[in-house]
């Protein structure tokens, strides 16, 4: 995870210009780290379109939604490697996508270099700790230690 990045020259507000007198979306960075994160946001966005929207629909909308979600539900679900993989991929991509999104937002609203660094570090650290926590739980969860629970 990057510690310092190049300042964006312009604000990230929608740029003007283009066929209708206003443009759309974020100006594509010319290169380096910002171009890679720009590309990552879009590629992970496409994957999250399925992982995150699917997750939200399965857990909150379809088939009784959140009512049916409890320990047993998770135990049965994570008995399947497919769902563990899905959830871990969702955890990783959503965290990186989200923390990078926060970095972009922070770049717009936190101008002093020291404060910006501090705020970013809080999010990077939090993101890293949660990534480790989530990864450990997804891969080490074993419901058999609670006999009779499943």
């Amino acid at each position: 995870m990057a510690v310092e990045t190049k300042e964006r020259a312009a604000t990230s507000a929608p740029r003007s210009g283009g066929p209708l007198g206003y443009g759309a979306g974020r100006e594509r960075p010319s290169g380096g780290f910002e171009l890679w994160t720009w590309l990552f946001m879009r590629i992970s966005g496409i994957v999250l379109l399925f992982l995150a929207v699917g997750h939200v629909l399965i857990m909150h909308v379809l088939d009784e939604g959140i009512e049916r979600v409890d320990f047993n539900f998770v135990a049965v679900r994570w008995d399947d490697v497919f769902w563990r993989t899905w959830d871990w991929a969702l955890l990783s991509l959503a965290l990186i996508h989200g923390v990078n999104g926060l970095r972009v937002v922070v770049q717009d609203y936190v101008k002093p270099a020291g404060a910006r660094f501090a705020v970013n570090m809080v999010f990077y650290t939090l993101g890293f700790i949660l990534f480790v926590l989530g990864t450990v739980v997804v891969f080490t969860f074993d419901p058999s230690q609670w006999v009779g629970a499943v």
Partner: protein, 155 residues
Amino acid sequence: MAATGRTAGRVTLRGTLAANGGTHVAKRRSDVGTLYRGSPGQWSWIAHRITGVAIVLFLFIHIVDTAVVGWGPEAYNRVESVYQNWFVRLLELGLVAAVVYHALNGVKIMLFDFWPSTTRHMKGLSLATTGLFVIAMIPITWIIGKATLELVGWL
């Protein structure tokens, strides 16, 4: 940016004006006194940012509450019981709406980014994105809303 002016000063001036899309051009007389409504892109940009920040803040909490599953059924089911509350159900509906909006608008952004010629249909695509969002939210609101009303005993 095609700079066609002959003197350096002129090039800069024209370049600057063209680069911001001519927003410094005086408004038409008919614009005076009318409500500023912005462009569709401006509103979707704000909505994309707000939903994005809301989702990632929920994600931070959600990883922790899901991790409790590693502490056994009693602990996890106690955490999950937070959903037995009508206000949390409304937040849940808001979360689903935020994810759906962010996803649909994200597709629109990628369309503009990877196929810039589509920006000429920006108004139509913004309308389509908003329309799809509303259409998707009708059954979702019905389902979560019904469950919420059943929870508080009104249904």
